[in-house]
């Protein structure tokens, strides 16, 4: 089941998050909804990201693919170059560079879509709270039996109200 708890203060939210984690919940069980980004210190609600690795991987992949393709194409249709080499990194370096960058752009974008969960299948049962300009909603996923404990933790931390959603 899910608990939806509304907060008005970031400090209260931090207290709640630390207490919930102490009670055995993982960051995967927790989600905060807000109209603007909220930044926490390290260790409160970490969301490890592999986006920069993905960007580098995408860059290397498309850059290499483009360069190999140019190499293949130049040899596939071999023109008489009058002294110039058939394939030269110098003469096609721009293409390697631009395609490397394009690879990074695409990788970042798709990784963003994936990591943010926008293109992943969502749990249809998980409720999405309505958020207003001034509020932050914390969604907690927990077993039905322990719900009371968590509601108590949330209240102690200073939430405005808590709803239970089956």
């Amino acid at each position: 089941m899910f608990l939806i708890s509304e907060f008005r203060s970031k400090d209260a939210l931090v207290v709640a998050l630390l207490a919930l984690k102490k009670a055995g919940l993982t960051p995967n069980d927790l989600a905060i909804f807000s109209e603007e980004p909220i930044e926490f210190r390290k260790g409160i609600l970490d969301r490890p990201s592999h986006m920069s690795k993905a960007a580098v991987a995408g860059a290397v992949c498309l850059g290499t693919a483009a360069t190999s393709f140019v190499y293949y194409a130049q040899h596939n249709y071999e023109i008489v170059t009058g002294g110039m080499p058939i394939f030269s990194f110098w003469a096609t370096g721009i293409i390697t560079y631009e395609m490397t960058m394009l690879g990074a752009i695409f990788a970042t974008f798709f990784w963003f879509l994936w990591e943010s969960g926008l293109i992943r299948k969502r749990d249809p049962a998980a409720p999405v709270p309505n958020i207003g300009p001034a509020s932050m909603s914390l969604r907690v996923r927990c077993e039905t039996g322990r719900a009371d404990t968590f509601v108590e933790i949330l209240r102690a931390a200073g939430c405005i109200k808590t709803e239970r959603v089956k």
């Binding site: 980004p37 631009e98 960058m101 394009l102 990591e115 300009p133 509020s135």
Partner: protein, 439 residues
Amino acid sequence: MAEHPELLPYGIIREDLFRPLSRAGRKWWFTVAVCFLLVLAGLAAWGVQLRDGLGVTGLNRPVFWGLYIVDFVFWIGISHAGTLISAILRLTDAAWRKPVTRAAEAITLFALMIGGLFPIIHLGRAWFFYWLIPYPNARLMWPNFRSPLVWDLTAIVTYVTGSAIYLYLPLIPDMAQLGAHNKPWRRKLYRALSLGWTGSDREWHALEMAMKLNAVIILAVAISVHTVVAWDFSMSIAPTWHSSIFGPYFVVGAIFSGIGALIIVMATLRHTLHLENYLIKRHFDNMSKLMLTMSLLWFYFTMSEHITIWYGNEPKEMAVFGQRTRGDYAFWFWTMVVVNFVIPVILLGIKKLRSIKTAVIASVGVLIGMWLERYLIVIPTLVTPRLASATSFYSPSWVELMITVATFAAMIMLYLLFARLFPIIAVWEYKPHSPEEED
């Protein structure tokens, strides 16, 4: 209050920034209609050119590149407004950037769309432009990857893609907020564009990460794009084109004209959308200082470019140099120096004179000056080829002028449409405050 927009309550900010989306005044419709007619006229002129051939332009032998290439370089230059400025400001975490970035990024995307058309308009057989793209074809061959024009193609494709994504990413949260819009078609549009954004911390985290990475990438791409545009010229052996300074010279010129365009757009938005509380004097002051820096840099590059030609005294280069500084193009050359250097330095360098109005005046001058700069790079070289017997002249035809005018109209039209469809200031980014500071 106007000096501290950060303290405006969130509700009012949202109201202020979303309001322009719902109401379109008579002036807006009028301007869009006029621009639309001009764009149609430009398309008709292009139609004439496609039907009759490139002979309808003022081009001749040896002036094979004319107004279209000038416009191409100009618009690609304008596109540097956005992404580059917004990326630099984002990376340095300059807080004052927040109301400026989206306005700038939109300029980039539209200027690129327009600029990217010119190489196609300019083709002798425009309907075969896709022959530059590598795909298995009936000609059983690939494009020549060592041609600077193919480099150009890859650079611009990368830049357009990157800028579109860079503009789109921070739009997503705003789209989610606008998803409750009262007009059904807008609701559908905004909801589709928001990709089901819920505002969870996972999404915010990924978004900020993606913006940071994209800012770095787009900076690298933007610099390379204008370098490659410069290399279209400097890879050739034409006198004064074959210059190693052209890469950085073009990049500086591009940022210079980009800032000019951004200041004009910002002033217009402030005035027409009543954003006096958001685009405050400090923004114009900062932009003016940036422009002043670029003006000095531009002068430095122009100087070092010309003084080396003059001192080297190589006859073929001196012929072009003479055309520029005391020949047929001297008037335009010295006009360029005045509007690109003298006026900005006086208006923006003297603190007493620096204001929104003078910044706009200087910016208009810079746009004219930078357009002239490209004209003076392309044309004088071509009218004075190496063999004096081939010396020629160039004056643009009505078709070229019409298409040029149409692209300016297209820019205004696209921008006006954009400002009605999307909030021109990133609402969520404008106020990333914690709620307890609210009220």
